[in-house]
């Protein structure tokens, strides 16, 4: 399978985990939009594009997992900060537990070499039918 053909599944994988990653960052402290985007981008491999973070934030807010508020600190521009809610923390806790188990399972399956068992098996000669 080529690298290009993996892209759609990676995109779906990113989409699935990006929300919990945003919640994890907001669980540390409130952040404004660009701050979140930069940190997610710096983590590497999580974002397909920076702009998709904002629709995600809006969906998380609609789901009651985050809230947002404009704050205008002295000497700084007004920024819209995002905060995790109690429901968001519960959601994150549940996801962390599920993710650990899920990741172990996936890792266990993926870590088996493609020919891990074939090396020990006797293979018939397809041309003669005799064992080599």
């Amino acid at each position: 399978m080529s690298g290009m053909s993996n892209e759609p599944s990676l995109t779906e994988l990113r989409r699935g985990v990006l929300g919990p990653c945003v919640l994890a960052l907001l669980a540390q402290r409130p952040r404004f939009g660009l701050e979140l985007v930069r940190e997610l981008a710096a983590a590497g491999g999580l974002l397909t594009s920076d702009g998709t973070v904002y629709p995600l934030l809006n969906r998380l807010r609609d789901a009651g997992l985050v809230t947002s508020e404009w704050q205008d600190a002295d000497g700084e521009r007004a920024r819209r900060y995002y905060f995790i809610t109690d429901d968001g923390r519960d959601h994150l806790t549940a996801f962390r537990a599920e993710w650990a188990e899920f990741a172990d399972t996936v890792h266990g399956v993926l870590s088996v070499p493609a020919n891990g068992h074939a090396a020990d098996d006797e293979q018939p000669d397809v041309t003669t039918g005799e064992r080599r």
Binding site: L34, S49, G51, L56, R77
Partner: protein, 279 residues
């Protein structure tokens, strides 16, 4: 956002394409996304950013179509779920306001139901011709179907009758006039209510004043007077009669039409022979 960055051609073009791509989104959602993207660019780009820097930032944001598609979202939530979420975020004062509005609506609906179900006026008490000459000339015929008061028509002269009515409701009812739908062009009518010392027993005296509009208290009798002038000369053998009357009656804040049926009673004017009054 600084004017410089906002007016950069690449930014303007990006925002234009974003607006077009968001056309299918709800207006509020599209507006919010645009504000977030503008804030992002404002924060990320310095006012004097060059074309290359702006282009790089826009490339990192992603194609407007992709951003809009993400907003349209594969995990778009149902209307019910969004409604529940929005309701859960309402503050106490919003709930208090809703409660007040609901209470007011409930009170108003209850009021309308009670008023609309208030008993209509009904006939009760005396009845007879109003003018002495009619009373003297009138005849009374009693049959199994009721009593008919008949009197010869006095063409183009005012005639009339009085009849008692009873307000059997818990509301004061105010008679405002004849219902327009029941008016007869050839027999214009006026109605008034007797107000005076005999109010309690539903009769009237010389001191009674005839008013309109006039109120009838709950569970009380009054006499109403109906005057009319016939514009059609009734030929011998013909007649016109009254077995009910429709009135506009105000109950509380509402005015409605009440039809008062004359119980086993009819007032009839009959044609006169070779009347010299007829044209």
């Amino acid at each position: 956002m600084s004017a410089t960055v906002l007016e950069h051609p690449l930014v303007r073009e990006y925002l234009r394409r974003l607006a077009a791509a968001c056309a299918a989104l709800p207006a509020g959602q599209a507006r919010e996304l645009r504000e977030q993207i503008i804030a992002h660019l404002d924060e990320a780009l310095t006012p004097g950013a060059g074309d290359a820097e702006v282009a790089a930032e826009l490339a990192r944001l992603g194609a407007p179509g992709a951003v809009a598609a993400e907003a349209g979202g594969p995990v778009s939530r149902s209307l019910g779920a969004r409604l529940r979420t929005r309701l859960s975020r309402l503050r106490w004062w919003a709930w208090a306001s809703i409660a007040v509005v609901v209470a007011l609506v409930a009170v108003l609906v209850g009021y309308v139901i009670v008023v609309q179900n208030a008993a209509a006026l009904s006939q009760g008490g005396l009845s007879g011709w109003w003018f002495r000459q009619d009373a003297n000339r009138g005849t009374m015929t009693t049959t199994i179907s009721g009593t008919q008061f008949s009197v010869p028509e006095r063409y183009h002269q005012e005639q009339g009758f009085v009849i008692g009515v009873y307000n059997d409701s818990d509301w004061t009812q105010t008679i405002e006039g004849i219902d327009s739908d029941s008016e007869v062009p050839t027999l214009p009518m006026t109605v008034s209510v007797g107000v005076g010392p005999q109010d309690g027993d539903g009769s009237y005296t010389a001191q009674t004043r005839w008013l309109l509009p006039a109120s009838i208290p709950p569970h009380s009798y009054r006499v109403i007077r109906v005057l009319f002038t016939s514009n059609v000369c009734q030929v011998p053998g013909s007649s016109v009669g009254f077995q009910s009357i429709s009135l506009r009656v105000r109950v509380g804040l509402f005015t409605r039409t009440e039809n008062i049926q004359f119980v086993r009673t009819a007032f009839v004017i009959t044609g006169t022979k070779a009347s010299s009054h007829c044209p």
